[in-house]
Every structure is written in C-alpha cells, then in structure tokens.
C-alpha cells in the first residue's frame, strides 16, 4: 500500500449505531426510515416549548445488549446531558446525549484481520443519544438562497461507540466495522445498513514512527458511507500525513471530509467554536439507574455471539474455518445451517449445500433464508437421500430447484417420478460400486458362475436410484464392473 514503511498509522473510530426501535428515543413518533418528509414529528422532537422527553425503555435494553456483548462495564447511574450547538437540523438548539457519565465504558472487541491475526480494540465508551434531522443543500428542488430541513430523523435513538486508537491499519478499521455490523445484527438492535445511515463512522488517524509509542497530531475523517470508503479514506489520509512528515512539515489538527467521487479528503470549512458544546446535565430527564440483577438477566438473554459461534462450528461440526465464517456471517443463515446439521450426519455436506445452493438461491431470488420454500427439514431429507445414494448429486440439484419452486418434499417429488432418467455413466458407476461393495457375498457368487445374481444386483441399483436409472446402461455398466472384478481374481 505504501512506501512510507517507517511510519505506522494509529486509528480510532467513532461509530453511530441507529437503533431499530419502533418509536423514537424520547417521544412516540415512528423511527422508521423513508417516510414522507416531516410526517413523523411531534412537539417533543420538534423542540416546541413545554414539551417533555420520556425515555424509551427499549433503547436502554438495546444499549445494555451492546454493552454486554462488547464486555463493557455498565454504569449503575448514567446521566443525560445537553450538547449545545446551532444547526438548522437541530430544532432545540441542543442534542440530548451523554457526556460525563455515559451508559457504559471499558469494553473490548477483538478483530480478526485478513492475515489471520487478532487485534484487540478497546472500547472507551458507549452512550445513548438522539439523532438530528436531515438538511438538504444540493438537491434540484432546493432554492439558491435556502437549505431545506426534514425532521423525521430527529430523535431517532443512537448509540455512539468510541474506540481507543488501537487500530494500526485501514484494513483493520474496515474489519472492525464489518464485525460491529455483524454483532449489532446478531443482537437485533440495528439493521446495519450503512448506505441508509443506520451505521455511520467517523475516524481519527495520526501516524508515528513504527515501533514508538507516542501519538502524533491527529486528523478527523467524516462523510464515509461504506466500509470500503472508510478504508480508502484512511489509506489516503495515512499517505498524506506520511508525505507531510517526510517533507519535514507538520500535520494540522483538522477535520476532513471524504469525497467518494474524487477519492480525496478535503478540509472541512472550520466552524467557529466547533468544540465548545457547553455540556450540562439535562434537567428534563432523570439519570438512568441500572440494577445488577437486571444486568444479569440481560446477560442471560444474550444470543451466542458470532465469534463464539464460529469457534463452535469448527469444534462441534469439524468445519473448516472458511465454512464456519461463511455460515456464521448472518444469524439467520447460521440458524438455518444448524437446523440442517441437527438432522444429518455429514455436517460438511450440509455446509457445502447451505454455502452453495442455499445462499445462491437466496441471492438469485432476493429472499432471506427464512423465506425459502426449501426449509432446513426438507434440505435434510434431500441430503439424507443423497447420502444413502437413493439419488445422485445431479438429481439432488434438480430436486432442490423443484422444492424451491413448489415447497413439496423431496420424497414426494421422487415418487411422482417427475425427474429425468439418469443415464450418465459416472453417477451410475458410483451407485453400482456402492451396491457391489455392500453385497460382496452375492458378488462372489456371481464371479463363481451364478448368473442369476445379476438380476438381483440390478434391482438394488434401480432401487438406489429410485427407479430412475436407465436399465440398459445399468446392465452394461454392471457387467463391465463385474468383468473387471473377475479379471482381478
């Protein structure tokens, strides 16, 4: 990536996670994305005089889930604070956030890097806050002398997660975000959609001479709306800072906006007093008090987390790391796989089919695994028939498609005989070999001259193929196979 091998980047992230609650954090307006402009607002989220906020219980539950999943310590008492600044998408003139006493602190997420290494990343804090509205400046319908504001998003619950500067490469930042996205989806607290803004990431980066421990002057990067852009923006900024230092110049502490079209980061027009938010405790909301019993109950309710699941798949199902990673990427896919694996002996075969046919079907149809007519139980039936050689893999794929279309069971489909005759030599040969292996007594009888056994063996092959093998091909292949055995005697 770089010819500045003497410098290493030091990266920290600040991620906003939009919680998938039904209603907003302090009022009963809907929190969904994409409604008609200013159609989900009320006196509370519009900041009208006299309106009072009331905290949404579920936002606290969701905060606790993420806190526990990242090993944070939940503060027994956390305080909402007003963060004061003027911007048209913030009608109250302050954002309700948490400052001195955040919801939780001191956690850890361990990221697996592409090279197979592990990078522990400390979580400094996670706090609850409300989102601001949306301003429009450039759209065609915006007049020359105005900006337009939609306040639907105002008051949607957010968690802000802040890491320590523990990441040492742009790729690690991308891997961190990918894991965080997977985690919030497992916890069912956020849909993880970065393009729609459900996950938003700002980054800070400085560089230092590799192997030293001091921190250089850092810059902040904003306006990146995908993992790839976070990675690219950090790579760009790393290069820029290295070039400055190499040329004997200093890095200025500033905020840069990522321009995805031009692949460059440019300094943001500096806001006067940008960092003087004059936080003070929010008088309209009492501190959140959390009891130890409640935390323990929440801990018991946590689902198995992706990294633990991945390890378990390797240990309990003997799957390769690659399979375990693909199957556990999404909680629904993992659940689907486990339901199949519970019903079949060959866990790797189940993995191959889920990673291959099932995920391909989801992609082609734009459906989730839970929507497929091919349920885990039906897939297990199909794989059972395949394992017992009642069908070959070509047929299994045909039946798979038919189950997807009709939702009928694989057994019924075979019984209905709606499947094409099997005529290909390779698959018939493997069925024949399996049958001969299992019937060694009859085989030796045949080899000693008992020709009648041929009909019996023939019947077994037809049964193994559910009557779908071409009998003429089977007869000739069977004779060939037996002739070879005779020659070896």
């Amino acid at each position: 990536m770089s010819n500045h091998i003497e410098y290493e980047p030091v990266i920290g992230l600040e991620v906003h996670i939009q919680l998938s609650t039904v209603s907003k954090i302090f009022c009963g307006c809907r929190a969904r994305f994409g409604s008609e402009a200013n159609a989900q607002v009320c006196p509370v989220c519009l900041g009208l005089p006299g309106a009072l906020p009331v905290l949404n219980r579920k936002a606290v539950d969701y905060a606790a889930r993420l806190a526990l999943a990242t090993g944070c310590e939940i503060n027994p008492r956390s305080v909402f604070a007003r963060k004061n600044y003027f911007y048209p998408d913030l009608p109250k003139g302050y954002q309700i956030s948490q400052f001195e006493q955040p919801f939780c602190e001191n956690g850890m997420i361990t990221v697996e890097t592409a090279s197979g290494g592990k990078r522990p990343v400390r979580i400094r804090r996670i706090h609850l806050e409300e989102d601001a509205g949306k301003s429009m400046h450039q759209e065609a319908y915006v007049g020359d002398d105005e900006s337009l504001v939609d306040l639907n998003r105002c008051g949607v619950p957010l968690l802000e997660l802040v890491t320590e500067p523990d990441l040492t490469a742009p790729e690690e930042a991308a891997a961190f975000l990918a894991y965080l996205r997977q985690l919030v989806r497992y916890l069912e607290i956020c849909d993880g959609n970065m393009e729609e803004g459900s996950l938003r990431c700002d980054a800070n980066i400085s560089v230092r001479v590799r192997g030293t421990f001091g921190l250089g002057t850092k810059t902040e990067l904003k306006n990146m709306n995908s993992f790839r852009h976070v990675e690219r923006a950090l790579a760009f900024e790393y290069e820029r800072q290295c070039a400055l230092l190499t040329a004997g110049q200093a890095v200025q502490q500033e905020t840069l906006l990522w321009d995805a079209n031009r692949n460059i980061a440019t300094p943001m027009r500096s806001k006067e007093f940008a960092h003087d938010y004059r936080y003070f405790p929010e008088p309209d909301l009492l501190p959140v008090e959390i009891e130890t019993n409640w935390i323990e109950a929440q801990r018991r309710d946590l689902p198995e987390l992706p990294q633990a699941k991945k390890v378990r798949y390797q240990e309990a199902f003997f799957l390769p790391a690659y399979d375990a990673a693909v199957l556990t990427e999404d909680a629904d896919v993992a659940h689907y796989y486990e339901q199949v694996a519970d019903r079949v002996d060959d866990k790797k075969l189940a993995s191959n089919w889920v990673m291959g046919e099932v995920l391909r079907a989801c992609k082609e149809r734009g459906e989730g695994v839970t929507d497929l007519k091919m349920t885990p139980a039906l897939l297990a039936d199909l794989l059972g028939m395949l394992t017992r050689s009642e069908i070959n893999s070509g047929m299994a794929k045909q039946i798979f498609e038919q189950v997807l279309q009709t939702g009928k069971s694989p057994h019924d489909l075979v019984a209905e005989g709606g499947l094409s005759q099997i005529d290909d030599h390779d698959s018939l040969q493997s069925v024949i070999q399996t049958v001969l292996q299992a019937q060694q007594k009859d085989v030796s009888a045949y080899l000693q001259g008992n020709e009648k056994v041929l009909g019996f063996l023939m019947g077994l092959v037809m049964k193994a193929t559910s009557g779908r093998a071409n009998p003429r091909t089977v007869t000739s292949l069977l004779r060939e196979e037996l002739a070879q055995l005779k020659n070896r005697l």
Partner: protein
C-alpha cells in the same frame, strides 16, 4: 470564581447574541454577583457530596416502545417562517 468581559463576549457569541459595550459590562457585573452568591457554598466542606444534577429522586419513568400518531406535515410546518413543499426552508447553510 468570576468571569471577565472576554468570557461574556464568548458566551454571547456562542449564543449568537450581540450586545452593546454597556450591556456587556452590565452582564459581566451581574454574572459576577451571581457567582459570588454561589461561592457561599465554599464555606461548607462538600468534598464527600456528589454533585446534584437533579432534585427528584428515584428512577426515571420509562415508556414502552410503541408509536403514537405524529403531527401532520402541515401542522408541523404551521409555525415555520418559510417552507418549500413539506420541508422547513432556512437561510442557506454551506457544508455540513
């Protein structure tokens, strides 16, 4: 504790308010009178007392996550000095 004229000017700027020199001098004096009153607390040893952010005791009332009808866009925009379609129109803001 006390404030200077410069601090009063900064507070005014943060609040986007402008005042005459006389008003600024008056505010500086008034702020300092209020702060002198608060300084009375220094007469007590409060090192073992946590700062009071709220006078009410007990856990907050929480609401269940259910939605209620919102205002209509027309109601929401009724007090807006200017609107464009269903959006609030404000003086142009450059950049984010």
């Amino acid at each position: 504790m006390s404030v200077t004229l410069a601090e009063v000017e900064r507070i005014a700027a943060l609040a986007k308010l402008s005042f005459s020199d006389e008003e600024k001098a008056q505010f500086t004096e008034q702020f300092n009178q209020i702060l002198a009153y608060v300084d009375k607390l220094d007469e007590l040893d409060l090192s073992a007392v946590a700062p009071t952010s709220h006078v009410l005791a007990g856990p907050p009332l929480l609401r269940d996550d259910e939605y209620r009808p919102s205002l209509t866009p027309d109601e929401a925009l009724a007090n807006a000095p200017r609107r464009n379609k269903n959006l609030f129109s404000v003086p142009k803001v450059i950049g984010g």
